[in-house]
């Protein structure tokens, strides 16, 4: 079976581009695994890890925040405002992410925005605890 073409893009640069076996995404409505030939899909992402599985290698984990995924016949594209390879992820970087998420909670004006920002903050805190 042909591989899945996967691209991970952040505003600063193209982080990953290549053929992979599968990608697991932290979708806003639950984790989902994407293989080649997936039906077209659009989904927002919650903060979490994108797991990229390649042929015969250990899966690569990348932390994303403020992300969005698109699947079309050409492959999978993830647009993320922040993306950090899990190897580079440390307590200091996480604390920075949490600080900015807390600022977002404080800045949220309506209930819906506050709920969303709080949810994102909870996920981040969970990841920080797991580090």
């Amino acid at each position: 079976m042909a591989g899945l073409h996967f691209e991970l893009v952040s505003p600063a640069k193209l982080l990953f581009s290549g053929d992979v076996t599968s990608v697991t995404l932290p979708g806003s409505e639950g984790e989902m695994g994407i293989f080649a030939g997936h039906a077209p899909l659009l989904s927002t992402l919650r903060p979490g890890f994108v797991t990229v599985a390649k042929d015969g290698g250990t899966p690569e984990k990348i932390f994303v925040r403020g992300g969005f995924a698109e699947v079309n016949p050409q492959g999978l594209t993830v647009l993320a405002e922040t993306a950090i390879a899990s190897a580079d992820l440390n307590a200091a970087a996480m604390a920075e992410q949490i600080a900015s998420a807390e600022a977002e909670v404080a800045a949220a004006t309506d209930d819906e925005g506050k709920r969303k920002a709080n949810e994102a903050l909870d996920y981040l805190k969970g990841i920080q605890a797991a580090l």
Partner: protein, 292 residues
């Protein structure tokens, strides 16, 4: 007529100026490469974003619940012009060409009886606009003392635009910046941010399939549209940074060349004058000797 000493001093000072402009040109060339790389690296994101938005907006187009950021408020009475310029001068016509485009746009709108509001990003634009258009400027942002444009800078500007829009302070938002074409050519550009102009992206061929959206399209759009504004601002800032360095590089190259020409002219003048003085002294000595 200037004395020989005056000429010598002037030559020395022009030489010092040439050294400075030469150094500035080389610094700009080094910075340009970095700025250009950053601008190119940011392109995939905004391109993908345009494609996704084009997809989504065609799905919700014409629906009653379409977000205002996409469909507009239905009026075009109040216009917000976001004008991105550099923090520093000495870069040729870079800043003035952007502000000129913005001024023409503002004058046109005022003549049509619209209300104009301006938000300047960058110190130079604010400096040149505040004298005549000061009454329109509602906000001024600058990034003085920063080495490179960061994404948070853009999100900061984006958040301001979005909150103004949410408060109903304007109907149409246009972004002004200089698009980087090449080192010698930077094109001042006006880009409409709100309502979003999404015709740029081409939707991929789905072979008859329809996107599954999770959560639904409207919710995704509500999430994506504010992000799109930050992205467009970020792109504009990066393009601007590259354009500024390009403009500075060619301006300083010109200045260096002009200084060289001036040194040549002054040296010729200096030599002529020196010779004339020697001749004059000789004549004085000879005629003195003849008189005896």
């Amino acid at each position: 007529m200037a004395s020989l000493k005056d000429l010598r001093n002037r030559i020395a000072s022009v030489k010092a100026t040439r050294k400075i402009t030469k150094a500035m040109q080389m610094v700009a060339a080094a910075k340009l490469r970095r700025a250009q790389e950053a601008a190119v690296a940011a392109r995939p994101y905004s391109e993908r974003m345009a494609v996704v938005l084009a997809n989504l907006s065609s799905a919700v187009a014409g629906q009653a619940g379409a977000p205002q950021m996409l469909a507009g408020t239905g009026k075009d009475q109040t216009h917000l012009l976001v004008i991105c310029t550099a923090e520093r001068g000495l870069c040729g016509g870079f800043n003035s060409s952007i502000t000129r485009l913005a001024r023409e746009h503002a004058d046109r709108l005022v003549a049509m009886g619209k209300t104009v509001k301006m938000m300047t990003v960058g110190k130079k634009g604010n400096d040149s606009l505040k004298r005549v258009y000061g009454k329109y400027i509602v906000d001024a942002v600058d990034f003085r003392g920063q080495k490179a444009v960061r994404y948070d800078n853009a999100t900061g500007v984006g958040a301001k635009i979005i909150s103004m829009f949410a408060d109903g302070e304007f109907d149409v938002c246009t972004l002004f910046f200089a698009e980087f074409k090449s080192v010698i050519s930077q094109k001042p550009t006006a880009l409409q941010l709100i309502p979003a102009a999404v015709s740029g992206g081409k939707a991929p061929d789905l072979a008859g399939a329809v996107y599954e959206a999770e959560p639904d399209e409207t919710e995704i759009l509500a999430d994506l549209l504010p992000r799109n504004i930050s992205i467009q601002v970020f792109r504009a800032l990066l393009e601007n940074a590259a354009s500024e360095q390009g403009a500075r590089m060619s301006a300083m190259d010109n200045a260096t060349r002009n200084a060289g020409d001036m040194i040549n002219k002054l040296s010729i003048k200096y030599n002529r004058q020196r010779q004339a003085q020697i001749t004059k002294e000789l004549i004085e000595i000879i005629s003195g000797a003849e008189a005896l």
